[in-house]
C-alpha cells in the first residue's frame, strides 16, 4: 500500500462520516427552509447521534447488535473501497451486505412494525439494486472498465455527457436508496411517521446511532458515485453534486409517499428503457 492509499483509507474512515453528517445537517436545514421553517442547527445530526450514544442500551435480542455492527462495517468498507478506487461491482455488493444485515436486524425483533418495514426495505433493495448494476454496466460499456482507478486514468471526458440517461436512472435509484419521499416506504425521515419508524423501529439508543452513522457513510458513497460522472473537472463535479443533492431534497419535499406496488414496476420499466436507450447510444457512438 502506498502512502496515498493509506491516506485515502484513513480519510474514508474518519472524514467521510463528518462530511456525511454535515450533508445530513444541510439536508434538514434546506428541508426546513423549503417548508417555510427556520430549521435546526447545522450540526443537529451530530447532536442526535451523540445523544443516542448516551442512551441506555435497550434490545429485543442480541442479533440486533450483530446486525447494527455488520451494517456499519459494510458501509465503512464501501466508502473505503470507493476511496481506494476499486471495482464498482464489488463496492456495490459490499453495499448490499449492509442492507441485508439491516433487514435481518429488523426481522430479529418480532414487532409487526419493524417486520413490515424490513419487508418493504427488501423490496426497495430489490428495486434499486438492478438499476445500480445497469448504471455500472453502462459505465463499463463506455469506459471499458469496472475499476474506478482505470476509469479516472484512461477516460478523459465527463461521463455525464455520454451517459445522461443512466445518470437519471442513478438519481432514481438513489431516491429509493436514500429513502427519500416518494419512496420513504420502509422508514421515513419526516416526523417518523411511516409504520412508526419501519425498519428502524426496534433499533434504539447506541445501535440507532450506529445505523445513523452508517447512513452518513452511505451518503458519502452516493455523492462519490455521482462525482464519478464528472471526474475531469473539480468545479463542475461540485456543481453536479450540489444540483443532484438539491434535486433529491426537492423531490423529497414535494412528493407524497407512494406504495411499493407503484414503485417496483415503474422504477424497473423506466430504468430499463432509459438504460437500453443509453446502451444503444453508446453502441452507435462506438460504431
Amino acid at each position: 500500500m502506498s502512502m496515498n492509499e493509506v491516506i485515502a483509507v484513513l480519510a474514508a474512515i474518519f472524514v467521510a462520516p463528518i462530511i456525511g453528517g454535515i450533508v445530513a445537517g444541510i439536508d434538514r436545514k434546506v428541508t426546513a427552509r423549503l417548508q417555510g421553517r427556520y430549521g435546526p442547527p447545522l450540526l443537529q445530526p451530530f447532536y442526535d447521534v451523540f445523544k443516542l450514544f448516551g442512551k441506555e442500551k435497550m434490545i429485543v435480542n442480541y442479533w440486533q447488535i450483530i446486525c447494527a455492527y455488520m451494517y456499519l462495517a459494510a458501509d465503512v468498507l464501501t466508502v473505503v473501497l470507493l476511496a481506494l478506487q476499486s471495482d464498482l461491482l464489488l463496492i456495490f455488493f459490499v453495499l448490499a451486505v449492509g442492507g441485508v444485515f439491516l433487514v435481518i436486524g429488523a426481522l430479529a425483533a418480532e414487532s409487526p412494525y419493524s417486520q413490515i418495514g424490513a419487508q418493504r426495505e427488501l423490496i426497495q433493495m430489490l428495486t434499486y439494486e438492478p438499476l445500480l448494476i445497469l448504471v455500472f454496466v453502462g459505465i463499463y460499456l463506455e469506459t471499458g472498465s469496472f475499476k474506478i482507478s482505470d476509469i479516472i486514468a484512461n477516460y478523459h471526458e465527463p461521463l455525464l455527457l455520454s451517459l445522461p440517461l443512466l445518470f437519471v436512472v442513478l438519481g432514481y435509484a438513489l431516491v429509493i436508496k436514500l429513502k427519500k419521499s416518494p419512496f420513504d416506504i420502509a422508514t421515513s425521515h419526516h416526523a417518523h411517521q411511516e409504520i412508526v419508524k419501519g425498519v428502524l423501529t426496534e433499533y434504539s439508543g447506541p445501535y440507532l446511532a450506529i445505523i445513523e452513522i452508517s447512513h452518513w457513510y452511505e451518503t458519502v458513497f452516493i455523492l462519490g458515485l455521482c462525482a464519478l460522472f464528472w471526474h475531469t473537472n473539480f468545479i463542475w463535479m461540485a456543481v453536479l453534486l450540489v444540483v443532484t443533492y438539491f434535486g433529491e431534497v426537492l423531490v423529497d419535499n414535494i412528493c407524497a409517499r407512494l406504495t411499493w406496488r407503484w414503485m417496483l414496476p415503474h422504477a424497473w420499466t423506466g430504468g430499463l428503457i432509459m438504460s437500453f436507450a443509453n446502451y444503444f447510444w453508446i453502441y452507435e457512438k462506438i460504431k
Binding site: W63, A73, V94, V100, M125, D150
Partner: protein, 671 residues
C-alpha cells in the same frame, strides 16, 4: 494407480449399492455407506493428487467381458426396464419417448455404426476432477446424513417393512453413475450413465409411493426422457453429418476444426437441450420442484452434487465447441432468462424446499448463461459456481430436512424464531444462506465474475441484474426469519464473563446452554459442509490457482488466456477486481467487535417489541391486549407478491417464452 482409482470411483458405488440392497441389518448397511463414502473421498483426492494434465484411459475388459459391449448391453437392458415401467405406469408419453430412444439407438448400434470403438473411452481433466470431488465428498456426506434421516423418516411413516435397502441402493449407485458421467469421453458411455441417473432419480423421487410421489416421479421421467431422446439424436446426427466415428469422442467433438462447425452445430444444440432438461431449466422446471416430495437426502443429492449438475456439466464442458456461434448467444440468453424467472418464482414461495429448488434452477441458469457467454472468465465463473453452489445448496437441503423432522413443517413462516428452539441448526442454516448471497463468499464472487463477463451482452446482463436483486430478497428474509424472536435468558450461561464470554459466543452462539441433540450422522455432514463452505470461500485464490485455472488450460488447446490474476488480496482481471481477503477480514473484525459489544458486561435492558404500549408482560411471548382485555397473538408474515408474480400466474408465460427461445435456438441452428 489412477486407473484403479477411476475404477473404484465408478464401480464401488454400484457394488456398495447392491450390497446395501441385500443387507437387511441397518447397522451393517450404515457401515457400508460410511466406508464407501470415505473410500470415494480418498480416491477422488488421490486422483486429484496424481493428475498432471489430462489423463486418458480406455478400460478394455471387466471380469473377462469387453467393457464396450457390456455398456451397450446394459444400456439396452436399462431402456427395456424403463419401457416395462412405462407400461406399468400406463403412461403413453413415457412409452413413446423410450421407444424413440430404443429404436434409433438399436438402428445406430446395429446398422449404422456397429461396434463403435472410441479411444480414449475415459478422459479425466480438471473439470472432471472438480466434478468428481464434489460428487464424492458432498454426495457421500449426503448419503451419510441419509442413514439416520431415513430411520426417522420411516418411523414417521409407520412402515412395517423397511424400504431402506432399495433407497440406499439407488442413492449410492447414483454417485457411481455420476462419476462415470463426468469421466466418460465416449458419448455412448456418457449416454449410458446419463440414462442411469435419469432412472435412479425416477426411482428415488417415487420412493414414498404416494400418489403425488408417483405422479411427480413420472413427470421427472418423461422430462428427462426428452433429454435422452435429444441425446440419442445428437449421437446419430454427429455420425450422419460427419460420416466419421471420430466425433463420438467428446474431446474430438469439442476441439473440432472450423470446417465441421456447421455439421456439428445441430448435435451441439441437441446436447445442450439434453443438458437443459437435466438441469431443469425453464420450461422443464416443474420436474425438479416436483422432486421435493422425495425424502430430503434425495433432494439434496439431486440439487447439489448430482443429476442437475450433470446437465450443466455437459453444457459447460462443450462450451468451447460452440464458441462464437449463434447457439452460444442463445444459450446465454436462455440461461439468463431461467435465472431471472426462477428467482422471481422463488420470491413467492413460502415452502422452504421449493425456495431452494427454484434457487437451484436459477443458479444453474446462471451457470448455463456463463457457458453461453463463453469467454474464459465466464467459464471460470461457471466452474466456481458449480463448486460453491454444490456445497451451500447441499448444506441448506440437509438443514431444511433436519428442521422438517424437528418441527414437522418446511414452511419458512413456521421457522420464525427457530433460533430459540434449535440454535445450532439455525446458525448453520444462516451460514448456508449467507454463503449463497453475500460477498466475500464464493457464490457471490462467481456472480461478480458472471456479471463482468456478461457486460458485453446487454440483455443478458440486464436479466442477471434483475435476477440477482430477486435472489437477495428471498435469501435475506429467510435468514432474518430464523432469528426473529425474543431473547431467552434460560439458554444463556451467566457464569462466564469478561474475556471468555465473547469467545464462547463465537463458537456456541448466544445460547450456550442449549444442547444440540441430533445424532452424529446428522451433525457431521452439517458441520463439515458449513465449515467447508466458509473455508473454501476463504481459500478461493488457492482454489483458483490449483483447481479451476487448469480447467482452462486443458479446456481447449490454444485458447489459454488467463482471465484473472490472483494475489494475496483476491482477484484482478482486466476490467475489475474482487478483494476476497480484505472483505473477509473486515467482516470477521466487525463480527468479533459485535460479539464483544453484545457480551460486554454492562447495563442492558431486554425489552418487548414496541406494540403501542399494549404488549404482554412476559417479553418472551408475542401478544398484545386486544378488545375486552383479551390477549391476542400476532404473527407477522412475509410479502410474497403472489398477486404480481404468483407461480400459477406467470409459470404459463414463462414456459411459453422459454419455448420460444428454444424454438428460435433450433430454428437458427437448422437454417
Amino acid at each position: 494407480m489412477v486407473d484403479s482409482l477411476i475404477g473404484i470411483s465408478i464401480l464401488l458405488p454400484f457394488i456398495a449399492g447392491a450390497l446395501c440392497f441385500f443387507t437387511k441389518n441397518h447397522r451393517v448397511r450404515a457401515a457400508i455407506i460410511v466406508t464407501t463414502g470415505i473410500i470415494l473421498t480418498i480416491s477422488s483426492l488421490m486422483i486429484f493428487q496424481n493428475l498432471n494434465g489430462p489423463y486418458l484411459y480406455t478400460p478394455e475388459t471387466l471380469l473377462g467381458l469387453k467393457v464396450n459391449s457390456l455398456i451397450t448391453f446394459a444400456d439396452f437392458a436399462l431402456l427395456f426396464i424403463i419401457l416395462a415401467i412405462a407400461f406399468k405406469l400406463g403412461n403413453p408419453l413415457v412409452i413413446v419417448l423410450t421407444l424413440l430412444q430404443i429404436i434409433p439407438l438399436a438402428y445406430f448400434e446395429l446398422k449404422m455404426a456397429p461396434h463403435v470403438e472410441v479411444t480414449p473411452a475415459l478422459y479425466i481433466d480438471n473439470l472432471s476432477i472438480i466434478m468428481n470431488l464434489i460428487i464424492s465428498i458432498v454426495g457421500s456426506l449426503i448419503c451419510i446424513f441419509g442413514i439416520r434421516y431415513m430411520e426417522e423418516h420411516e418411523h414417521h411413516l409407520h412402515l412395517k417393512k423397511s424400504r431402506q435397502p432399495r433407497f440406499f441402493f439407488f442413492l449410492v449407485m447414483f454417485l457411481g453413475a455420476m462419476n462415470g458421467l463426468v469421466f466418460a469421453n465416449n458419448l455412448l458411455w456418457l449416454y449410458f450413465f446419463w440414462e442411469v441417473t435419469t432412472f435412479c432419480s425416477f426411482m428415488l423421487i417415487g420412493h414414498d409411493k404416494t400418489e403425488i410421489a408417483i405422479r411427480n416421479a413420472t413427470r421427472a421421467l418423461w422430462m428427462n426422457m426428452t433429454g435422452g431422446v435429444a441425446f440419442v439424436a445428437a449421437i446419430i446426427f454427429i455420425y450422419y453429418n460427419t460420416q466419421s466415428m471420430e466425433y463420438l469422442s467428446l474431446q474430438a467433438l469439442i476441439n473440432h476444426g472450423p470446417e465441421v462447425m456447421t455439421a456439428l452445430l445441430l448435435p451441439f444444440a441437441l446436447l445442450c437441450f439434453a443438458g437443459f432438461t437435466k438441469a431443469a431449466q425453464v420450461p422443464f422446471q416443474s420436474w425438479l420442484c416436483g422432486a421435493m416430495v422425495a425424502p430430503t437426502p434425495v433432494s439434496a443429492l439431486l440439487h447439489s452434487s448430482t443429476m442437475v449438475k450433470a446437465g450443466v456439466y455437459i453444457v459447460v464442458r462443450m462450451a468451447p465447441g460452440y464458441q462464437g456461434t449463434f447457439l452460444s448467444t442463445m444459450v446465454a440468453t436462455f440461461g439468463a432468462f431461467t435465472f431471472l424467472t426462477a428467482s422471481a418464482l422463488a420470491v413467492n414461495m413460502s415452502n422452504g424446499k421449493k425456495i431452494l429448488a427454484y434457487s437451484t434452477i436459477a443458479n444453474l441458469g446462471l451457470i448455463i448463461a456463463c457457458a453461453g457467454i463463453n469467454t474464459p472468465a465466464a467459464i471460470i465463473a461457471a466452474v466456481l459456481l458449480i463448486i460453491f453452489h454444490a456445497i451451500s445448496k447441499g448444506l441448506l437441503f440437509l438443514c431444511v430436512g433436519t428442521i422438517e423432522h424437528a418441527i414437522g413443517s418446511r414452511d419458512i413462516e413456521d421457522m420464525r424464531g427457530l433460533y430459540n428452539s434449535m440454535p445450532a441448526v439455525s446458525r448453520i442454516t444462516i451460514i448456508g444462506i449467507l454463503t449463497m448471497m453475500l460477498p466475500p463468499f464464493g457464490a457471490l464472487m462467481s456472480k461478480w465474475m458472471a456479471i463482468e463477463a456478461a457486460a458485453n451482452i446487454p440483455w443478458v446482463v440486464v436479466m442477471i441484474a434483475l435476477g440477482s436483486g430477486l435472489t437477495v430478497l428471498f435469501w435475506a428474509r429467510w435468514a432474518g426469519i430464523f432469528v426473529s424472536g425474543p431473547h431467552l435468558k434460560v439458554f444463556e450461561s451467566q457464569g462466564k464473563e469478561g474475556f471468555f464470554a465473547p469467545l464462547v459466543t463465537i463458537f456456541k452462539g448466544f445460547y450456550t446452554k442449549a444442547k444440540w441433540k441430533d445424532p452424529a450422522s446428522i451433525k457431521v455432514p452439517l458441520v463439515s459442509l458449513a465449515i467447508g463452505a466458509i473455508i473454501l470461500s476463504l481459500s478461493v485464490p488457492w482454489l483458483y490457482t490449483f483447481l479451476v485455472d487448469p480447467v482452462l488450460s486443458c479446456y481447449k488447446p490454444g485458447l489459454f488466456v488467463e482471465p484473472f490474476k490472483t494475489g494475496p488480496m483476491g482477484f484482478t482481471s482486466g476490467a475489475g477486481a474482487f478483494y476476497v481477503l480484505p472483505v473477509f477480514l473486515v467482516s470477521i473484525i466487525a463480527y468479533l467487535a459485535a460479539v464483544v459489544a453484545a457480551k460486554q458486561k454492562d447495563h442492558r435492558v431486554f425489552s418487548a417489541p414496541y406494540m403501542c404500549g399494549e404488549q404482554y408482560a412476559d417479553i418472551a411471548e408475542p401478544k398484545f391486549r386486544s378488545h375486552l382485555n383479551n390477549w391476542t397473538n400476532y404473527v407477522p408474515a412475509n410479502i410474497y407478491m403472489q398477486d404480481i408474480i404468483g407461480e400459477s400466474k406467470i409459470s404459463y408465460w414463462i414456459n411459453i417464452i422459454a419455448l420460444i427461445i428454444l424454438i428460435v435456438l433450433f430454428g437458427e441452428v437448422l437454417r
